[in-house]
């Protein structure tokens, strides 16, 4: 039971850090922590075999969004090496 409250606390903390950080690129690692915490909460709230699909879809989707934001901000999708 402590696990879920801990994750919720970390999610709120990460959200506050996202708001307080002014640099867009440096916001993204905090967004990452937020996604981790929310993914954990989804899984802990609904212990059902299909939940893993929902949790993974949310997490991979949010990672893809961060990827898109960071790449757009830095001038479009270019592969480095």
């Amino acid at each position: 039971m402590i696990a879920i409250y801990l994750c919720a606390g970390i999610a709120v903390y990460a959200a506050i850090r996202v708001i307080l950080e002014r640099n867009t690129m440096r916001k993204l690692p905090f967004v990452n922590v937020l996604s981790f915490a929310v993914t954990a909460i989804i899984a802990l709230l609904i212990p059902h075999p299909l939940t893993i699909l929902a949790a993974a879809a949310f997490f991979i989707g949010s990672t893809f969004e961060s990827n898109a934001i960071a790449s757009t901000w830095s001038g479009g999708m270019k592969r480095n090496g």
Binding site: L6, F36, A40, N67, T72, W73, S74, N80
Partner: protein, 165 residues
């Protein structure tokens, strides 16, 4: 069987070692996998952090790496036991391909974490301890001080890069 807060703390340390070791083994701090990861690394360096540590932070943001693998594997084991963890590894593999990531850090991390979590449940730990533990582990790298965490990874990367390819 130890109390829950202690178990979560032990799980956090194990998750941290699992994902940092695998990410560094797969050379995530070497360079940014996509341009967004490189841009994050440059911003971290501008803020006083280490460039190679910044690359790893950027790569973690941009694609599911071993940390994501560890989290999703723990979620998988929590929801559906050993098959759930291995299914999570498959989802991470698909996620890597979607995010334009040619590496296998995420998939490897998910597989090792699955066996770690299943093994530790035999010692009285719960899979939920590892879910919370992994959230704490990622918090220490991405969520407290990018300057300090990137320097720590930079130092570990120096040791790794001295050891050859």
């Amino acid at each position: 069987m130890p109390e829950e807060p202690l178990r979560i703390l032990v799980a956090a340390v194990l998750c941290w070692i699992n994902f940092v070791a695998i990410d560094i083994f797969f050379r995530l701090p070497a360079r940014g996998g996509v341009s967004g990861a490189t841009a994050i690394a440059q911003e971290v360096e501008k803020g006083g952090g280490d460039l190679h540590g910044g690359y790893m932070l950027g790569n973690i943001v941009s694609s599911p790496d071993a940390s994501a693998g560890t989290l999703l594997a723990a979620c998988g084991v929590y929801c559906a036991g050993l098959p759930g963890g291995l299914f999570a590894a498959l989802l991470v593999y698909i996620g890597n391909r979607i995010c334009y990531d040619p590496g296998y850090a995420g998939t490897t991390g998910a597989i090792t974490a699955t066996f770690l979590v299943v093994g530790m449940t035999g010692l009285g730990f719960a899979a939920s301890d590892f879910i919370a533990g992994m959230v704490i582990a990622i918090l220490t790298i991405q969520g407290i001080s990018h300057v300090h965490s990137s320097r720590l990874i930079g130092r570990l990367w120096e040791i790794r890069s001295r050891g050859g390819p």
